[in-house]
Amino acid sequence: MIRGLSILVIDDNKIRASIIEQGLRDAGHDRVILVHQMDGLVRQIADINPDVIVIDLENPNRDQLEHMFQVSRAVRRPIAMFVDKSDSHSIEAAVDAGVSAYVVDGLKRERVKPILDMAISRFRVFSKLNEELEEARSELADRKTIDRAKGILMKSKGLSEQEAYDLLRRSAMNQSRKIIEVARSLVIASGLLED
């Protein structure tokens, strides 16, 4: 049996790193090591002697890492995943997802490709989760803004809550704008008038 590949995941984001680790383990890779910080990385990489290195693109230390691969005698020379131009689809997918990978020279593509695909898909899942979280946050903020706008109308025009909302909706329709935009303008304008 071929011994499994050892995979080093360098990611400051611990949650994302563990999502990737879990994915790789589920796929049968049991030699996955996570690193969150760059201190002493050369020594760590020499000790771990990984076959594949996965790193997030937000990491400011990629230049350092690539340089180290070129000059260090302590580590086997990993090369960028995508030296083969025919891989342009994978390259784009990886960069889009925000991940980069390096493999030890001489490893067969077929053995490494699934690992990269896994990293790409897990990075995507993570950024989708993040986006949903952001959306949920901004939805909440929007609802608060609309509530404030309603409150302003109720107070200044003596309307009920439903009447205030209807007025916002009618104004939005008449101006071909979204309710949230009208509400925002109203909140800003009333802030200005108060000063």
Binding site: L57, E58, N59, P60, N61, R62, D63, Q64, E66, H67, M68, Q70, I79, A80, F82, V83, S88, I91, E92, V95, D96, S100
Partner: protein
């Protein structure tokens, strides 16, 4: 956003010499030329290289040697590129730890940053250390294919040292340099501003010399563009170059320096205090705790012919690549480098004629290139 504007996406690294791109996007120069310039901040030169190669970016703020390294296939994701415009001259310095500076000062280093004098002092210090079997001094640069690497190596070699065996040179991200100096991980580094001023202000570093003294008026960053994009979008590129030239004039004007420092200190650009951004922009450098020096051309932006790339610039960078074993010398490579640094696209976009193209390069040690 006005729909009639042509979108151009530019990657940049948070350094002072991203100023021309930032000013073009923020001060209306791009819009005037019909361009909606969108800036995307990046965290590493490797990301800039990868994202321009896959087409995420149309153009990018790049280290001058990067388009050469990409075109000569010396890096991964290498694609043929051009450097149609310089984005700044000078702007780098070599900072050493206060401990190393004390030794260099004792060896007679010039306090005003003269590279011949400080280089000689460094050689004396290293010779003493060797006699005591002290470990090699460790210097940092931001990228193997960078003006920083070549300036540091040139300075060290001009003092009679071998940068490959008399010191260690490692690569670190610019924003990490000052901390690495403070913790003793580095003894010195060559980096663009504001990361030298940051170490001097923190009391952990001393500027030993600077790019303007090593190679006066030399290109540092360039606008990088893939040849494919340049050929597919000649009019957009020409309009962008005019916009950037206008922005460079604006950046060069002394009356705009506070406003520029304000733009650059913003959270979405450099996220750095104004007082750390200002010295290099004003040419008023604090070399050490008690040493101020006026270096009016420390970092220069200027529109017009001064920002035209010249084959001689490319040749100098390529010579250094060959000198330090990164590239082979060949007729093909020489011709390719001259194409990458050709001023033609820029000068014709600006309608500039009769600009002399025989830029001569004179280094601090008297060597001409």
């Amino acid at each position: 956003m006005d729909k009639s504007l042509t979108p151009v996406i530019a990657g940049f690294i948070p350094l002072l010499d991203s100023a021309v791109l930032v000013a073009a996007a923020e001060m209306g120069f791009a819009e005037e030329e019909g361009i909606a310039l969108k800036l995307v901040r990046e965290t590493s030169w490797a990301n800039i290289r990868d994202r321009i190669a896959v087409g995420h970016f149309d153009v990018a703020h790049m280290l001058a040697p990067m388009p050469i390294a990409a075109s000569l296939n010396l890096t991964s994701l290498a694609v043929p590129m051009l450097a149609p415009m310089l984005l700044g001259l000078g702007g780098n310095a070599i900072t050493v730890s206060t401990g190393l500076w004390a030794d260099m000062a004792a060896a007679g280093a010039d306090t005003g940053g003269d590279p011949a004098s400080t280089g000689k002092a460094l050689a004396d210090v290293i010779s003493n250390r060797r006699a005591k079997a002290a470990p090699l001094l460790n210097f940092g640069v931001v990228h193997p294919f960078s003006g920083h690497a070549y300036e540091l190596r040139y300075w060290i070699a001009a003092a009679g040292l071998d940068p490959d065996s008399d010191v260690e040179i490692t690569v670190l991200a610019p924003q990490i340099m000052a901390d690495a100096l403070a913790t003793g991980q580095l003894d010195g580094y060559c980096v663009g501003e504001p990361w030298n001023t940051a170490a001097v202000a923190a009391g952990t570093g001393r500027i030993a010399t600077y790019k303007q003294a090593i190679w006066p008026d030399s290109p540092e960053k360039v606008l990088g563009v893939t040849r494919k994009w340049a050929e597919a979008n000649p009019q957009t590129l020409a309009a962008l170059l005019r916009a950037l030239s206008g922005a460079a004039y604006w950046c060069a004007s002394a009356e705009n320096v506070e406003k520029l420092a304000g733009l650059l200190s913003r959270a979405d650009t450099l996220a750095c205090p104004i007082e750390i951004c200002l010295p290099a922009l004003e040419g008023s450098m604090r070399l050490g705790r008690n040493t101020m020096k006026q270096v009016p051309d420390f970092l220069t932006f200027s529109g017009g012919a001064q920002m035209a790339p010249m084959p001689a610039h490319g040749k100098w960078f390529h010579e250094q690549m060959v000198r330090w074993g990164q590239a082979e010398r060949s007729e093909d490579a020489t011709a390719e480098v001259a194409r990458i640094f050709s001023p033609d696209i820029y000068l014709s976009a600006l309608g500039l004629e009769n600009v002399p193209r025989d830029a001569s390069i004179r280094m601090f040690d008297g060597r001409n290139f």
